[in-house]
Symmetry: none
Subunit: 209 residues, 4 copies
């Protein structure tokens, strides 16, 4: 059925056909993710229906189910891709400045109401949809790794003690962020970012003394 001469050694291992038929269209996949993210940002996140997604993406409903197992899964992936606007770690030479700037940058992204709504939806979906939970776990792990590399630079520079509990520090930073985001009792602005940065540096230095 295929050309034996082209891959003589492969035939032995894969005697049967691997695939036939039309290939999946990655453009459709992208259009769906794009549409989901836009709808989450602009429309009311609650009323996000599969039909609306399909309509906005110019795609059939079945195609969505072909790529993702549930609505939560596609929502999660869309938000990881869209909301994961990379907040870069700067390197100014001063660890304290870099940390403060990192937090300020993150909080600045969260000024956007659409991003806020999208992230809240992601957490909500993760509570009852296993796929969304997986996506959220992956998303947050990535974010924690970024912050960890920054904190490790602080250890190297001596701003943080060598035995600082980095895992806890990271959870403190993102914990405050998510807690305020989800409950909404306190602002997420530049002042909050500065306070949080001060807190992290203070405790980390103290930890080694």
């Amino acid at each position: 059925m295929h050309n034996d001469l082209a891959a003589p050694t492969r035939d032995v291992r894969r005697p049967t056909r691997q695939h036939t038929g039309r290939r999946r269209n990655a453009a459709a996949r992208d259009a769906i993710l794009q549409a989901v993210f836009e709808l989450l940002r602009n429309g009311g996140g609650s009323g996000l229906t599969i039909d609306a997604i399909a309509g906005a993406a110019g795609v059939g409903r079945q195609t969505i189910y072909r790529w993702w197992p549930s609505k939560g899964a596609v929502m999660a992936e869309a938000m990881v891709r869209g909301a994961g606007a990379i907040v870069p770690v700067r390197d100014s030479g001063s660890f304290k400045d870099d940390l403060a700037q990192f937090l300020i940058d993150i909080f600045a992204v969260l000024e956007d109401q659409g991003i806020r709504r999208a992230l809240r939806q992601l957490v909500a979906a993760a509570q009852y949809d296993g796929h969304a939970a997986g996506a959220l776990a992956e998303f947050t792990a990535q974010r924690r790794a970024t912050l960890r590399s920054l904190l490790e630079r602080g250890i190297a520079s001596g701003d943080l003690s060598a035995d600082a509990n980095l895992g806890l520090l990271i959870d403190v930073a993102y914990g405050v962020l998510w807690y305020r985001l989800l409950v909404g009792h306190a602002p997420l602005d530049a002042g909050a970012a500065r306070d949080l940065g001060t807190h992290l540096v203070a405790v980390a230095r103290r930890a080694g003394e």
Copy 2:
């Protein structure tokens, strides 16, 4: 809902009659809250329907809507009532011990998978239901107040500096708690409670130095 003053002639004819008819049955209300909490703890939170609540409580659906404006509202109230098992603040004389014990007690309550699921559901519901959001805000405000009173005792005793940023400290404590609860990347056990307690005391003491 309408104003009787707009119909003065009726007041003349029925000046005294305040109310007639059967009174609401508080037992039904309790049965509903009880049923919701049980379903949240045991069943899969996703499939929590009004029908299921009514069935479990032995109640008609309309009765639920008579007492609460939305599913999120009744869920929220049930969880505030059920999950709000009071974790008392102890007074052993040592602020540090009391703080550590407070966190350990809270984390012990969270060992229960049902409580965990219920709290996660509450946060999820709050993201798309205004009533649930209100209930969550009230719930968390109450919890923050409790912790704040404990921390103020720490200031009084001199364990914390007088100008410590209590609001931030509280958000750090609950932020770590909720973040780990919602994302699930790290355990919520006695060790975590101790680490968190140490962190809070260390930073707060440092802050005033």
Copy 3:
């Protein structure tokens, strides 16, 4: 609905409740049947969807499924009710005239393209839907009974022989009708009705000689 005078001993005999809840709304049922018949007559019978029925009747989709088990069933009942416009048997004193007039009247009803389409749809649905098949059987049995009573008058008057095979005569009459209706190779007009009437009388008279 029940007799309260039976009162004190009631609990013993009927310990359980007979019925609670809102009663079914016969008006909705009628609206559905009406809408189905109109859609079958006017619209293209092929594209008759449950949604279209529900929309035309101003009814929810579930209500249709509450009353009938399948689309074929509701189609069948609608057509039995709508297309079963009673063609009365006349009694002019002359059996032959009455038979001829009966056939002419039936064929006249079939001049209406909508009725034609509806009847064809009924037969089509009956081929793959058991409920529709039942409705068709009932419908045709009723029609055969009507014709049989007319033919029996013919026997009484001596126009038909006493041992005429009435079952076959009836099937001949309706067989020709349905065959032409379904295949469409020959017209169903007054001339056809007269020919068919002549045929029936001729063969039935002969049969006894």
Copy 4:
């Protein structure tokens, strides 16, 4: 699909290349018709899908659409080919015997439940599919022609009067057959065939007297 003879000049410019590409595979066509007929006879006619046909025939879906314009068309052709098992007209010298035998032979074929189901499906499909309607018309026209030739022999032999209404007689015969087949209120067995034969001869003889 186009006629090469219509473009003689093309042959001059490309004298050698008569045709490129794989030729249509008539075997695939046969396999499809065979598969459709088998599925109609054995499986439930209702759930006959294009996918099922393609699968049973070992054929791609597109191949079916290359040969027929719609599902009704392929169903109709399959049934005309499969169910059109030729019932030959015999010539024993006796018209009455030949007619009776013809009807008995036809009814014998209809003993097969699969044939019955297939024919009912054909009629059902013809009610909403123009292609199937065409196929049914062609099929029935062919059957009527066969019976007509037999009846004309009856006129030649003097068993039928010269001015008998052959069109009506044919419709009576097939009408009774289809009516009983579609409604199912009476059997289609040898006894029924004999009754029908007697009826036809009786009326036809009488008609000329």
